[in-house]
Subunit: 299 residues, 2 copies
């Protein structure tokens, strides 16, 4: 099944205890699409500035990712600067320059208006809604959000969530959105607000999948080396959605497996800066780590 | 197989967002033994003061727990006062009155010097060593420790750990003991210091079992209601050791199951103050939650 992702393509400047990198490839749609590209066909809707390096677009194309929906707007590319502490759960945003992303109003090219799966990465919920209006109802709609929209556009977000099959957010966002400290209560409260299911991403602590039909919990793949957690959540989503895109029928068993594939993809992403580690692996590496995870967790 | 536990029996005064309780039954040996008593025969070595309520000793006896090793010393019982924040991972010690526990020098009665399994709860590593000298080499030796001993008696602890099969500690202690922030690196570093295996208890985030032969990771049983996390770690240990005490042969599969039984026992303990919830359940409740956890985590 074809996947359409709407999100950001950005240039990140990142400092972690393991080094500092300037203007490296980042953005939610970037991490998502590269992760999903191991499993299926993905098209990106995003906007970049005239300064966006051609080699990065080339890199996406070479992975079979559709880039026709990436518009090159007048101005500069969205930039994010961040620093992680020794405990890399603690991130500090040093600067956010929205640049051309400020005026991002996604227009879906005609050829891309019939996706099987739609993933709306973290953007203004009004824009998420506007995308939905432009496409033929996909078989599966998933979305992400963030603290900023939960604070400033909660009503829009809640309205939009009624149309969503899988709502992905991290633990802090889940607590904020629901007003519940306990994550199981938070998951229950969120699903009562509209989405068919919610996925709470807990980073190194794993994931909770919660739907009215059933729940699934999994630890993260345990790593000895974490070099840069940027993009882990979007890479997770790319693995989940990518895996689901291969399924003939999306049932409980497939969803559980997709969560583990998402975790495995994220475990690779954080082992190096930007998408570097993802570019260095192949499907057998992913399957090997999946089998390893199965061994690590079975009882 | 018979289990001998050496640790504390105490009176706790606890404040959580769900209430405040004074002078309730606590202590590492208490939580451990009640948890393990669902699976096998446990004897306690501990000391209490003359003020220790008889009904608490009675309560332990009624569960088949051997209390002959609990000495009643002149003075007052060990007391701990603590307060938990809304995020119950954050605990504040308000007061610690060691009282008779200050001079605790465990003497093992002759009849108890041949345990199959020995669990040395969190006490001075020199005392842990002294207990080991008094008993015939058990089939399995497990122990816990805490930040205080890691700081003040690291050398004693390290020397002692060479004799230990399973070393249980929480994530903060594992980081402190190893000097490694990453828990997989911490686990590796700790096992290189002597114990055959290490169990890192991550509270609501689950558990890591690490030995030179293999590893196991599991999430915690997801709960909607956590009322008091006091004793969760010792209850976990009681479930692990209790389950192992029933095994004919302790192999990898049994160890994995024991970790899950430990998690399940801890999940009950935190649902109420003191040992109240543990006293209200029976083995079928435990097995039901175990089966539920299996369903929740399988993929």
């Amino acid at each position: 099944m074809s996947i359409l992702v709407v999100g950001s393509v950005a240039l990140d400047s990142i400092e972690t205890p393991f080094g500092k990198k300037d203007e490296i490839l980042g953005g939610s749609a970037t991490f998502f699409s590269i992760s999903a590209s191991f499993f299926g066909k993905v098209n990106i809707i995003a906007t970049v500035g005239e300064d966006f390096p051609k080699r990065y677009l080339q890199l996406l194309k070479e992975r079979g990712i559709g880039t026709n929906g990436i518009t090159i707007a007048k101005g500069k590319t969205f930039r994010w600067e961040g620093r992680y502490e020794y405990d890399m759960n603690i991130a500090h945003t040093l600067a956010t320059h929205l640049n051309v992303f400020q005026d991002f109003a996604p227009e879906i090219p005609h050829a891309l208006r019939n996706p099987n799966i739609l993933f709306l990465a973290n953007i203004d919920p009004d824009l998420q809604e506007s995308v939905l209006k432009q496409v033929k109802r996909p078989k599966l709609i998933a979305c992400d959000s963030m603290n900023h929209w939960i604070t400033s556009k909660k009503r829009s977000l809640e309205k939009f969530l009624h149309k969503v099959d899988i709502f992905l957010l991290n633990d802090a966002e889940a607590r904020q959105f629901s007003g519940e400290s306990n994550l199981m209560k938070a998951a229950k409260a969120i699903t009562s607000k509209g989405p068919k299911s919610v996925v709470i991403k807990k980073g190194e602590h794993g994931v909770i999948y919660y739907s009215r039909r059933g729940h699934f919990v999994a630890p993260a793949y345990p790593l000895e080396y974490v070099h840069d957690p940027t993009g882990a959540g979007d890479t997770f989503a790319g693995g989940v959605i990518g895996y689901l895109s291969r399924a003939k029928k999306i049932d409980d068993a497939i969803i559980r497996k997709s969560m583990v594939y998402g975790s495995i993809m994220a475990s690779f992403a954080v082992e190096d800066f930007s998408v570097n580690r993802l570019l260095g692996i192949k499907l057998p590496d992913i399957n090997r780590r999946y089998a390893d995870f199965k061994k690590l967790t079975r009882f």
